[in-house]
Point group: C2
Chain length 80, copies 2
């Protein structure tokens, strides 16, 4: 069973890395770009003996306690 | 219009960062984890005057030419 965890900065937090990417792609000729924000993405392969419920709980706990900083970041978990 | 770009290492490429995360979460008491791989995630806000077709083309080109290294990474683009 696979969990996908997306970690993004909260909307109120400035993202200088995203701004740098936006500036660079504009210099490279891409236009029509209003904003770029960078986040992190994790693919977690869980043991197949877990059911969906416990896989989700385990991935949510990992996202909250380890993979994200809840002060400045949001996370989202998908199980598939 | 918003594009989401996911960049992941190709399956054949070793991911030492993911292995380090996996080792750390196991030390913290998480078990039933078979594998962790880390990728990058970008949210790109595009001008609303673009239609879905040209937004997708623009985001795909940016993912291919700027945001990923096609030698070792795969990318996936979603438009919403």
């Amino acid at each position: 069973m696979k969990a996908k965890v997306y970690v993004t900065l909260k909307p109120s937090v400035l993202d200088p890395q995203g701004k740098a990417i936006q500036h660079s792609v504009e210099l490279l000729g891409f236009n029509a770009i209003a904003d770029v924000r960078q986040g992190k993405y994790f693919e977690i392969e869980l043991d197949d003996k877990l059911n969906e419920q416990s896989a989700r709980e385990s991935a949510e706990r990992m996202a909250r306690e380890v993979l994200s900083n809840p002060v400045i970041e949001d996370y989202r978990v998908e199980i598939e």
